[in-house]
Symmetry: C2
């Protein structure tokens, strides 16, 4: 098993991003990655909610679970100092960190509630739960995201 | 609840990436996002395995669970035609799609095994399981990733 521990193979994995970055740049990249996947999975549910795509409960549940799992991956990637560079995160985040953290928790909580509802829900029962998730997104974006 | 269904608020969410992209570009961006988070969570375990950081079982387990959850998020983002543009994915993927898919499943399986092992494991028992995960990464990268 010794060969498994060679720095080389781990180095290969860790070299996935092609450039060396500061911890703040890494954090920005990682939270963008989590947001990207959250937005994608949410958009699949959104298509059903807006009746642009047929309702598929198993698919909806899968997307809700993905979002519930991805949501808590965001919070560790907002270290102080990561408001500079390629980010829309406003300095207000770090000036109101307790409020920001509470909004993150509230978003996570609603993602869990949506997943729970999706296990037995119909499109009609899921629409308002999905709407509340979007409200959670918006509450944070309005206050803490540029544009 | 009607206001929850406004296209506007959903549009806001879906507009997270600042540019309109082709489905292939979207796929590339989404798989990069999943790889980014997989690499990050793996690197935290890797630090413990290489004894650069103290072993913390709860932390290791959290990272293993994240990877187990993220691993299946990759496969839907390799549509035909997404070998062009800002990607290291080689055309060989689509020439050997069944083999590529099997390697993806094998990676997912090992991520699950590592998570299962992490529930009760010690650093000594987790090292070889982690090594097998890195081997799964490498098996796919060697054949299907440029550089």
């Amino acid at each position: 098993m010794k060969r498994h521990l060679l720095p080389l193979s781990l180095g290969l994995l860790l070299s996935l991003p092609a450039f060396a970055a500061t911890p703040e740049e890494d954090a920005i990249e990682r939270r963008h990655a989590a947001f990207e996947l959250i937005a994608f999975n949410t958009s699949v549910m959104g298509g059903m909610v807006r009746e642009k795509a047929p309702f598929d409960q198993a698919e909806f549940k899968k997307r809700a679970l993905n979002v519930a799992f991805l949501a808590p991956m965001l919070e560790e990637h907002f270290p102080a100092g990561s408001d500079k560079g390629g980010t829309d995160a406003l300095p207000a985040i770090w000036e109101n960190k307790a409020d920001f953290d509470a909004k993150m928790k509230s978003f996570q909580n609603q993602a869990n509630l949506l997943y729970r509802a999706s296990k037995t829900g119909t499109l009609d029962t899921l629409k308002p739960e999905f709407g509340k998730l979007i409200d959670e997104c918006k509450a944070c974006h309005d206050k803490y995201k540029a544009d």
